[in-house]
């Protein structure tokens, strides 16, 4: 299990998923990352910083955006 820092690129309030840029990944974004439902959609503003929890480092389907800050 690992926490990674990320930047929000876009958010889908319908599927409650996000496209994020993990710190260090300047050229490729990670799409369809599940967002914790306790995060208000209104706070999911592009450019904000995120904390992404990876239950498995290599399984993006098991990653969750658990915090939005800044």
């Amino acid at each position: 299990m690992k926490f990674r820092k990320a930047e929000l690129k876009s958010f889908s309030s319908g599927s409650y998923t996000a496209t994020v840029r993990l710190a260090g990944s300047y050229k490729v974004y990670l799409e369809d990352v599940t967002v914790a439902r306790n995060l208000p959609a209104a706070e999911m503003v592009a450019g904000r910083r995120l904390a992404v929890l990876f239950f498995d480092d290599h399984s993006p389907g098991e990653a969750v955006v658990v915090a939005v800050y800044t």
Binding site: R4, S25, Y26, V28, L30, D57, G61, E62
Partner: protein
């Protein structure tokens, strides 16, 4: 096990044998000659579109366009015998101006320079005497627009040639067959605007293309235009991505150039428009032993230059050449080796499941190895390849088994007690895998099953410069398509180990190749010890399996659960449970495969021990060997080789191997 001659097999089984340990240094990387570039020319020409070709006489034909402020004039240059003393600053004006892009190609004594001008004219001048004299400009065709940012040409061996140019989002090919120019043909892809194209003929037309995809993302692709080798003549292969950057980001790719010297090598420009903006050439090379259609390239690395228009490449038999308007570089193509065999004082080779090393001590009593990396010792330096071939003096002479190579990581000059030596410390390619760090996100199988575990492993190995040879493979290796990601900073070694955790397969590294093996309990022995090949000493451990029951849960939609058991171990020890959860497992059969893979690993590790034997020159990791040791009650019992340590200490009369053992 590597194949050995009958005489070498006989020699290594003798009670007394004379060792032959071959050690060489070589200027190789990734199975091909490492190109060490030397800059021969630094000029003041403006950075703009340019081209390079080499006819058979070894002359260097360069072409360049001046920037729009200087009317986009087309210049050419011929350097008869290019070298360090050549004057690369003299250019001949062709009388052509308002040129947009330029390309060059050569075959034998024929050289062509192509360009498109602002009147949309596609033109060429041709020389039939290696660029000494040139004909009048020919009008070949018209481009649809002047939004042309890429043009490239390549001859076929018979003299036909093809001209490729990128007009907005369309790549066109215009062929000259039997001296007759054909109508231009558009490709069958849908993309955004293109920014560059390069081509080499190799049975098909191998292309590198830069530009945007239909969504506006920036890409560097490889592509084949078929000529009957790997792709049907006249058709196009799929675009294979080598590099990508998102639309709206700060990165883009442009101006690729391509050459084949042993393997395909490419240069392209990565342009960054953020703070501390740069535009810099990057270089990469295809993996030795793979085809262009495989799209397997080493991780691109930056070249020490600032340039918007890239570096054109060409080669003759002796050198590879790089050229931009204001610079010329060359690198020798000769494979150099330095035989160290006669100076070896001692040697130790270690090979395990996750790494390997080679330590060689050389005599240096006369100071012959005092200064490495220069003159005769140019190939003996950090980063160079050290090749090790264990062998014996046989009835056929000095024989050895080649295939083991390492990269020199460090060296120690040793001076003590009136003696001088040089200790070389080299590592195998597990270190290269560890050194490869992802520099951005990778992801496979997000929306569809496009790449199986084998494909992802092959990709990661390639990024670290390694090829993959499949000796045997499990069904899961080709049938499992995980939604898998690699994040920035992840090492290749970590990623490979994670991927191998999905399957029962293992890999071992030899030279620049990772060998994939599916170790089966039914595997037959490939060699025997204790029955012809002496066993000096041995320890044989048999233990309990750390895991004898595995529950695998697929964590996707709906519960998928499968259990796997080793019943005799459970009966003896009660159960030792391992739980595995993986949301990519979406069928019971996949869950069962994973459970069996876990039990298989536990079974192999349940046996241990080692034997000390005279060196078997062909021994490889994961070989199954039959072991006979009456003192331990073993009679042709199969074991799997899990580690190898070879020691060569001639002053002590030692030339031995310790083999770590596991269950079959």
């Amino acid at each position: 096990m590597r194949e050995l001659t009958s005489t070498l097999l006989d020699a290594q089984k003798q009670a007394t044998a004379v060792p032959y340990v071959r050690v060489e240094a070589a200027n190789m990387i990734g199975g091909v000659v490492r190109l060490d570039w030397t800059r021969l020319y630094t000029g003041s020409e403006s950075d703009y579109f340019h081209a390079l070709a080499m006819p058979a006489d070894g002359s260097l034909i360069r072409a360049r366009i001046t920037p729009p402020a200087d009317s986009r004039k087309l210049y050419r240059q011929r350097i008869a015998s290019p070298g360090p003393g050549s004057d690369f600053s003299q250019w001949t004006y062709t009388g052509q101006y308002n040129t947009v892009v330029v390309a060059a190609a050569a075959l034998g004594t024929e050289v062509s320079i192509f360009w498109i001008n602002t009147a949309r004219e596609v033109r060429r001048i041709k020389s039939t005497d290696s660029g000494v004299s040139w004909g009048s400009p020919e009008l070949l065709d018209y481009s649809p627009t002047t939004a042309i940012y890429g043009i490239a040409a390549a001859y076929k061996p018979g003299g036909d040639l093809a001209l490729f140019f990128a007009d907005q989002s369309t790549l066109y090919v215009k062929k000259c067959i039997g001296g007759q120019w054909q109508s231009k043909v558009a490709w069958d892809k849908t993309t955004g605007d293109l920014s560059g194209v390069a081509v080499v003929y190799d049975g098909d037309f191998a292309l590198m293309v830069t530009g945007k995809d239909a969504s506006g993302n920036f890409k560097l692709w490889s592509l084949l235009h078929g000529d009957g080798a790997a792709v049907t003549a006249g058709t196009w292969s799929a675009l294979l991505e080598l590099a990508a950057a998102p639309s709206g980001g700060a990165f883009e790719y442009r101006q690729p150039f391509l050459v084949k010297t042993g393997v395909f090598r490419c240069f392209f420009i990565e342009k960054y428009t953020g703070e501390e903006a740069y535009s810099r050439p990057f270089r990469s090379q295809a993996i030795s032993g793979t085809g262009f259609a495989d799209g397997l390239w080493r991780e691109p690395v930056p070249f020490n230059l600032s340039s918007e228009y890239g570096l054109a490449m060409a080669h003759d038999n002796d050198y590879a050449w790089l050229s931009g308007p204001a610079g010329v570089w060359r690198a020798p193509l000769a494979a150099l080796t330095l035989d160290l065999t006669d100076d070896v004082i001692s040697l130790r080779q270690e090979c395990s499941e996750t790494g390997g090393s080679l330590t060689v001590e050389l005599r240096n009593d006369d100071g012959r190895y005092s200064v490495l990396g220069q003159g005769d010792l140019s190939v003996l330096d950090i980063g160079r390849r050290i090749e090790f071939s264990p062998g014996y003096i046989t009835s056929a002479g000095s024989e050895s088994s080649a295939g083991l190579s390492y990269i020199l990581e460090s060296f120690d000059h040793v001076s003590a007690g009136g003696k001088a030596g040089l200790v070389l410390r080299a590592v195998d390619r597990w270190t290269a895998l560890s050194d490869w760090k992802a520099r951005h996100q990778f992801r496979w199988n997000r929306t569809s099953d496009d790449t199986n575990v084998l494909g992802i492993i092959r990709f990661v190995l390639a990024r670290a410069g390694l090829g993959l040879a499949v000796r045997s493979q499990s069904a899961a290796m080709t049938g499992f398509y995980p939604d898998f990601t690699i994040s920035p900073g992840d090492s290749g070694r970590e990623v490979i180990r994670k991927l191998l955790s999905f399957v029962p397969d293992v890999i071992f590294l030899e030279g620049n190749v990772a060998c994939l093996v599916n170790p089966l309990a039914s595997d037959s022995a490939v060699y025997s010890y204790g029955d012809g090949h002496q066993v000096f000493e041995g320890t044989y451990r048999r233990g309990a399996m750390k895991t004898n029951r595995v529950q695998v849960e697929g964590l996707g939609d709906g519960l998928i659960l499968a259990e796997s058991f080793t019943w005799d171990q459970i009966d003896r020890l009660y159960d030792r449970l391992q739980q595995v959860g993986d949301r990519d497992i979406d069928s019971v059969s996949e869950a069962q495969q994973r459970g069996q893979a876990c039990l298989r690993q536990s079974e192999i590790e349940s046996e241990g021990g080692s034997i000390l034997v005279p060196v078997n020159c062909g021994q490889q990791l994961y070989d199954v060997v039959a072991l006979t040791d009456p003192r331990a009650g073993l009679d042709a019992v199969n074991k799997r080789v899990m580690g190898i340590v070879l020691g060569y200490y001639p002053r002590r009369g030692e030339y031995r191997q310790r083999l770590d053992l596991g269950a079959v």
